[in-house]
Amino acid sequence: MSNSPISSPTNLRPKRSDIVESKAAGPAKVELRDVSLRYFTPETETEALAGISLTIRAGEFVSIIGQSGCGKSTLLSLISGLMQPTGGVVLVDGQGVDKPSPKVGYMLQQDYLFEWRTILENTMIGAEIQGRDLVAARDRAKTLLTRYGLGQFFDYLPRQLSGGMRQRVALARTLVTEPDVVLLDEPFSALDSQTRIALADEVAEVLRREGKTAILVTHDIGEAVAMADRVVVMSRRPGRIRSDHAIRFYNGDGQRPTPFAARSTPQFNTYFKMLWEELEVHVEG
């Protein structure tokens, strides 16, 4: 129970699920110790994050939910090394993060495909930037795109693809560089709900199968529960960790159900309701 950062005095909360224990997976992959971040602008400074401590183990799939503006994207930017914290430390594999590292892949909220590059070229951009072996990267890019159903579209331009296809290209682009840790910032927010659920299924499965450590930021409680092993709830600005729930589905064979199947389990509804109420309590308080 060492991992309990919850300082909230309230005990209004209904059934609190177990605080996550180290049972889930391997050694600490991503670690934040008492991290805080302030944004500075000429007019004012904004405290976006305060006293965040969080440990994510190798192979874990963690969802982060919280109100708009509570600092979720900021948290991902810190882990990715795009920004440095104003206080505390961020560690990946026990090493301090001071710039983006090939170990961490960051899938942004929108696909941001380059309209002047073909699908295959877009998928290769990260490998080019990191100076990888381009022949191997090209093979890998083709394999990934084919696996995501884009085998015939290598030479198409982004504008010729639908939103869901573009998101899959973005996923392939993130995975071509073979990161251990994958950060996903509301990656499906631009999609209609059916595509969204289907794609979430694909993504969760791909990441689990490849043994990635994944951190998913989302507004969608259902998505957070269905995809993750663990859901972290953040409080309003300045963002702190409000609570941290292990998500377990019991379905006989010991295998975690796919996100889609998870949605029709009784546990799903329990978790959903609990998190829903927690966020609601939060709005009032």
Binding site: W116, I125, G126, R147, Y148, G151, Q152, M165
Partner: protein
Amino acid sequence: MSKVDTAPVANAPVATGMPAAALGAPSAAYTAWLRKERIRHLGVRGTQGAILIAFLLLWEILPRAQLVNPMLTSYPSALWPTFLDLLKDKPQQVNILVHTWGTVFATIVGFTAAMVIGTIVAAILWWWESLYKILDPYLVVANAMPKTAFVPIFYIWLGATASIYAMALAISVFITILMIYSGFQGVDPNKIKLAQTFGATRWQILRKVVLPGSVPTMIATLKVNTGLSLVGVVVGEFQSASIGLGYLIQYGSQIFKLNIVMTAITILAIVSSVMYLAIHWLEAAVMKRR
């Protein structure tokens, strides 16, 4: 049970470039739509041609009817003999193709230099934002200055030939810098952020995101600075040249032979049109990728 493997083409792309062959025979509505589009296109082209013809007719008829003084305007049918006459090399006068080429060559040098220098300077300003903040007012003022005021000074400083190139460059380079820089600024910061998530250096961001992302701006800039460059060359030639259409215009007006002046101006119009078409083709070729 991998859904991933079976997900393929089920949801077909929003195809803009894909053949819509699957639909089979075109519907009547589509045929009608195509016809309407073609008629509209022909209408635009036809009107463009009609305007040109009307202009040439008026230019021919008004002087002949003595409604305007033919001494002042000449008329189209008189230009052709003048042109043929100017085609001949004479003792003090090279033929008009040499004049034309002189002007065209200087213009090409002018806008190419403006493009290259402008892009490099814009890249430097993008790299050091403080430098941009420092230089911004000077660039804006330099751009607004009437550069033609410098024609005599350039002539004194640089001599007959170099001053023409210098004028072509001076007149077009500042707007080139300003336009390309604003193109660089306009590149979606999220695309830059995306490159940064892969650890891109500033140099990589410039090469892989900012420059390719600014190609449409560069084409727009090219449209502006080819025209400006031509202005610079002709104005420079007024002052200092013994070759070039600008010189020919100057010479023709001094000896009051308006036919020569009008012929040279007509050739300038043709040169402008050809440059416009060339850029238009370039744009079409480049934009195919977007």
